[in-house]
């Protein structure tokens, strides 16, 4: 086994190590040095990545908008009026100094509801994405690592799941399983799993013939160890990019399902749900619909800007 000492490693390899290397004997100190070098390289790359992201206007704008909505999701209750207080005396009022975004058909403050509406989608979408990454990552690792029959069976099943448009499958499942938030998260996570597993599988296939995997196998490591500790850390980049892409789609899907009536139920201030229920007032009180619509649009665009910026920096 040859040890590659990169010229830009700041620590000079000491003479002992070189001697050990020449003998071809792997001793603990050499291994420790290898790990140190790898860790150092990793940190250097990470610092470079953060710097590049900070310089990317696409990423920063998207990140700023996302931060705004995360802040509102967490703290809007302390800043605005109540999103659920009904006021029969003041329904469908136009925007005014008292109610900046007007009031809806039950006299609720639209500003408060629009800000609080970020909460549901910012819980559902990231959790669903995390589930999809977890399951898809596992399936993709197993399919890509073992190849052969296991791979063939898994990929056929994935094809079947992808044979129906996602919205149709989720309507089918949600109408039969019920409409709780937890079920929505699981369903979106499950439906995104096939796509994630395809990406991970492709990445694993690219890595599995590399020397470090071979080395680990020759050391006699178990397959699970090789997958989790050797291959997985080396395919984090495609997984991160896939994760941000899925996050955008998860926001889109979660909002669509609420709009269709298969997600959250009234009186939740969720944007998709609000657009569906207030749509009938579009002609007499457009503010009840337009503000949640613009809010949702800004969040979706923000997530996609982040994806775009991240993808560009990583692919450089």
């Amino acid at each position: 086994m040859s040890v590659e000492v990169r010229p830009h490693d700041l620590r000079e390899p000491d003479t002992d190590l070189v001697a050990v290397q020449a003998d071809g004997v792997v001793d603990d100190r050499l291994q420790a040095f290898e790990e140190d070098a790898a860790l150092f390289e990793q940190r250097r790359q990470r610092r470079y990545l953060v710097k590049a992201l900070l310089r990317s206007p696409t990423f920063m704008i998207g990140f700023g908008i996302l931060l705004f909505w995360v802040f509102m999701a967490l703290f809007s209750t302390y800043l605005t009026q109540s999103p659920t207080d009904i006021n029969a005396a003041g329904i469908l009022q136009a925007p005014s100094p008292e109610h900046w975004f007007g009031t809806d058909d039950l006299g609720r403050d639209v500003l408060a509801r629009t800000m609080a509406g970020a909460r549901t989608v910012l819980v559902i979408a990231p959790l669903a994405t995390a589930l999809a990454l977890l399951w898809g990552g596992f399936i993709g690792l197993v399919a890509g690592f073992y190849r052969g029959l296991t791979d063939e069976i898994i990929m056929r099943l994935v094809d079947v799941l992808l044979a129906l448009p996602i919205i149709i499958t989720s309507i089918l499942i949600l109408s039969l399983l019920g409409k709780s938030t937890a079920i929505v998260i699981v369903v979106i996570g499950a439906l995104f799993t096939p796509v994630v597993s395809r990406t991970v599988r492709a990445a694993v296939i690219g890595e599995r013939e590399r020397e470090y995997v071979m080395a680990a196998r020759l050391r006699g490591e178990r397959s699970a160890f090789v997958m989790a500790r050797e291959i997985l850390p080396n395919i984090t980049q495609p997984i991160i990019v896939e994760g941000t892409i899925r996050l955008g789609y998860a926001v889109f899907t979660a909002a669509t399902l609420s709009f269709l009536g298969f997600g959250l139920q009234p009186p939740s201030p969720d944007w998709g749900l609000t657009i569906a229920t207030e749509r009938v007032f579009l002609q007499i009180a457009p503010w009840t619909v337009l503000f949640p619509a613009l809010a949702l649009a800004s969040l979706v665009v923000a997530v996609n800007l982040i994806t775009d910026g991240l993808g560009r920096v990583l692919s450089r």
């Binding site: 094809d159 079947v160 044979a163 129906l164 448009p165 996602i166 919205i167 149709i168 309507i171 089918l172 499942i173 949600l174 109408s175 039969l176 399983l177 955008g248 889109f252 909002a255 669509t256 709009f259 269709l260 009536g261 298969f262 998709g272 657009i275 569906a276 749509r279 579009l282 002609q283 457009p286 619909v289 337009l290 619509a293 613009l294 949702l296 649009a297 979706v300 665009v301 996609n304």
Partner: protein
């Protein structure tokens, strides 16, 4: 060519059987007691048993699946639980409405996106190129019901240029139907615009680097001819491929837009059936959409093969 189509059709059969099993399982096995899940917690046990008998859900699973699948193939799709009417005509009429909307949307989508994509590809890296790319991509990622309500507000409520509803009053001429479909079709166009325009742009940029374009320019062909004869034709291959892959999104978009505009298409039928637990209608509509989806993908593949000789030879 025919062999390619035949093989693809044969490949569709196992997938379709698996999908039908999935639909059947989701609709009939998961809820456990079908009669109970339809009637809800307040029905008496006798009512539940009676409905189960009428639906035939007290029979063994394999028999029910065979029965249902055979019925689907022969056009006997059962009766709607909600309306007590045969499902076939309900679904088919809705499908006709949906195809009209989808067809009209495609008529808008394809030329617009190809025009925008090729144009920005020809003027690569100009301000116009960046504007087109960024705006079409943003339109694509915004949910269709969001762009739908905003457009509805601008063009129907504020400017009053277009009608608020998607269906003209009874007895109007056919051309009115198209006029009423303009507003629902535009969000569908937005949904697809970004990807198709991007593929057309990438295709154009790639083709422009090819030696035969230089040859065409150097042998003195006018620019217009170079673009129409060489660039457009070759940039079409990736574009058509991506149009095919967008069929699933178009179907999803139809479901949402039909709900937003209360348009009686197959998406609306599906959502209504799901909301009211009308399992028979839901199953039939979902399976029909699955069949159409696969056929649509097949047609797209065939068109790609026709456009690109290399794939065609590979058969």
């Amino acid at each position: 060519m025919l062999r390619l189509i035949g093989r693809r059709l044969l490949l569709m059969v196992p997938t379709l059987i698996l999908v039908s099993m999935l639909v059947f399982a989701l609709a009939e096995v998961l809820p456990g007691d079908v009669g109970r899940s339809i009637l809800g917690p307040y029905a008496t046990q006798e009512q539940v048993d009676l409905l189960n008998e009428r639906l035939g859900t007290d029979r063994p699973l394999v028999v029910r699946y065979a029965d249902w699948a055979a019925g689907f193939v022969t056009g006997d799709w059962g009766e709607s639980l909600l309306y007590n009417l045969p499902v076939f005509p309900i679904v088919m009429r809705a499908l006709g409405n949906s195809l009209l909307l989808a067809g009209f949307a495609l008529v808008l989508i394809i030329p617009t996106s190809i025009l925008l994509g090729v144009y920005s590809g020809l003027r690569r890296d100009s301000v116009l190129d960046r504007t087109i790319t960024v705006s079409t991509l943003s339109m694509t990622v915004i949910p269709e019901f969001v762009s739908g309500v905003v457009l509805l507000y601008i063009f129907a409520v504020w400017l009053k240029w277009l009608p608020v509803t998607a269906i003209p009053p009874a007895g109007s001429p056919f051309i009115d139907r198209i006029y009423y479909l303009i507003l629902p079709a535009i969000p569908l166009m937005f949904l697809e615009l970004g990807y198709i325009a991007r593929m057309a742009r990438v295709g154009t940029v790639q083709v422009l680097t090819m030696p035969y374009i230089r040859t065409a320019v150097l042998k003195g062909l006018p620019r217009r001819q170079v673009v129409t004869r060489h660039v457009l034709r070759n940039a079409m291959v990736p574009t058509v491929t991506v149009i095919g892959s967008q069929i699933g999104w178009l179907i999803g978009g139809l479901v949402v837009i039909e709900t937003l505009f209360v348009y009686p298409g197959i998406g609306k039928v599906m959502v209504d059936a799901a909301q009211t637990n009308d399992v028979v209608v839901l199953e039939a509509a979902v399976l029909l959409v699955a069949v159409l989806y696969m056929l649509g993908n097949l047609v797209a593949d065939v068109v790609v093969a026709l456009l690109s000789p290399r794939i065609r030879m590979g058969g």
